[in-house]
Subunit: 318 residues, 2 copies
Amino acid sequence: MNATPRVIIGLSAVVVAASGKGPEVLLSGSPGAIGLPFGSFDPIGHRTFELAVRDFVTSQTGFALGYVEQLYTFGDKGREAPVADMGQSSDADRVVSVGYIALAGSIDEGQRRAGVWADWYRFFPWEDRRSEAGLRAIDLLLPDLKAWATTTERQSRVAMAFGLHGQSWQESQVLDRFELLYEAGLVQEAQRDRAKGQASAAPGAERTFVGEPLVSDHRRILATAMGRLRAKIRYRPIVFDLAPARFTLSELQDLVEALCGVKLHKQNFRRTLERSGLVESTGALHAETGGRPAMLFTRSATSRQAGASGLSLPLAKR
Amino acid sequence: MNATPRVIIGLSAVVVAASGKGPEVLLSGSPGAIGLPFGSFDPIGHRTFELAVRDFVTSQTGFALGYVEQLYTFGDKGREAPVADMGQSSDADRVVSVGYIALAGSIDEGQRRAGVWADWYRFFPWEDRRSEAGLRAIDLLLPDLKAWATTTERQSRVAMAFGLHGQSWQESQVLDRFELLYEAGLVQEAQRDRAKGQASAAPGAERTFVGEPLVSDHRRILATAMGRLRAKIRYRPIVFDLAPARFTLSELQDLVEALCGVKLHKQNFRRTLERSGLVESTGALHAETGGRPAMLFTRSATSRQAGASGLSLPLAKR
DNA sequence: CCACTAATACTCAGACTGAGCATTAGTGCC
DNA sequence: GGCACTAATGCTCAGTCTGAGTATTAGTGG
């Protein structure tokens, strides 16, 4: 009975913060083996997972987390962490990781420098459709994806995920896109996991991949987090956990655009936002843009109620 | 190192099927200790959780599952299964359970009799707002809830969850409502867990609870499943995994109403459904209702594509 | 006082939604 | 065969929401 391998529960956290430039995630690890912050779950010490996550993130990075939410539990054999990473585990152990997303709010330069933060689009260049660079990333991938899509089922999946053939781009399908790229062997993790499976690490055709890899299945966890966050913006007032206490509507829009990787229609965004009752104007103005000064807003009391609704995302054409 | 308690991963499955009457879930256990089907995860034998779930449900009940989706991983100390349930585990072990929802499609009488199925509203009478009985269940709970809601924060949570004070009832907030009732001590599990914590099982004031309890935290898992399913109906064509291959629009509407526990506006339901392109008419008619015969429909090819959208739910007034 | 830049205001048409009224095609009875 | 009855299906109308523009305003820096 003791011969049965133990199950180790790892907790991984996608800690998201918004700096001036856009969404950033907290990383840990050494160059070449970068990953999300993680810790293993102590069955004695911790009453709930969520408390454990708050605990280890704070002790590892000094950050106190605000909003925390469980994402998904990942247990696929062959995609888990290289065993060496997990401290006291042994070869026979099975690592299961429970992924969490945590919002660290808006951070200042000091806090930013205290941790290792990275723009999340470094790992998912194709998810940023605000810039030419992101659109180019997709153009780079498409030929290979199309070559891989030999069946109509695959073709349809590619079309839906990447918004081809008149399908619209769904910003929250981050995981679908990543899994497609993984299956098609177009992200580095796929090659790594296959090599592990075959034991003989055939070097294979050296190719350059689009987007940086992460340790273990952490890029998959990050994709899950991005997708969840992007979806949740639409039905829960969750942006405000990333925005500063006072903001102009343009700043809020920039934040939402950065998170969702799309451009929004300015006037319509402001219209639905004001109607929603989620924000209320402080009297103050903010005059540092060189144009007409903007009204500063705060989230309203109703936006804090459990069950408050989210934002609508009026896309800008093109 | 062997003194550290092991972590046991339990898998629980909410297997949903639609019989003629409405949504039913598969149960296991003996009278007085009814729960969801569950099995423990074998770290060696199973490559992924999902495969493990399919495996143990099929071996325990003979059912082949269709759609399977991970719900949530529950790990709170104090709400987990009584240790005796888990077979070979010992007292010191920590049980973590990964909940899944599975759709078993539409079942016939034979299949129905082969397993122990129960209308899910037995456990959540207040979730069924189609009938007077369900509305009465809420009336029974409200006085106690209001008595419990001593702070404005609690009052606001109650109002949002149960659609008080002009808030609208959100059919997918099943878990919020259940957790509120748990916190307020209005479901039997709350009393049970408290007694466990205090070791001295004080009998307390014997009260009658609304809705039947389940073993461990299985009612919470079921609530999560119901909420997920109800929410997902709106954005994925998931009803069709519960509906028979051919159905009339009224039958489909009845199914949706049963799942969501609300009444829908007939003409508007049919209108949005036909516009959505999710169904297509077979030529056949179905004339057994005593009225004008209804057209039989099937789900369309596009409804099977990954990324297809869900149904809109036009509520009927009152 | 002027040019410039964002922010904010206003408008309009088309699509979608909630509600209700009207028509139709079966069944079963006389 | 005709009639009452019952669902299913069809149609209409007003109000709201959304996409897309055009227009105006209040600062800043010469």
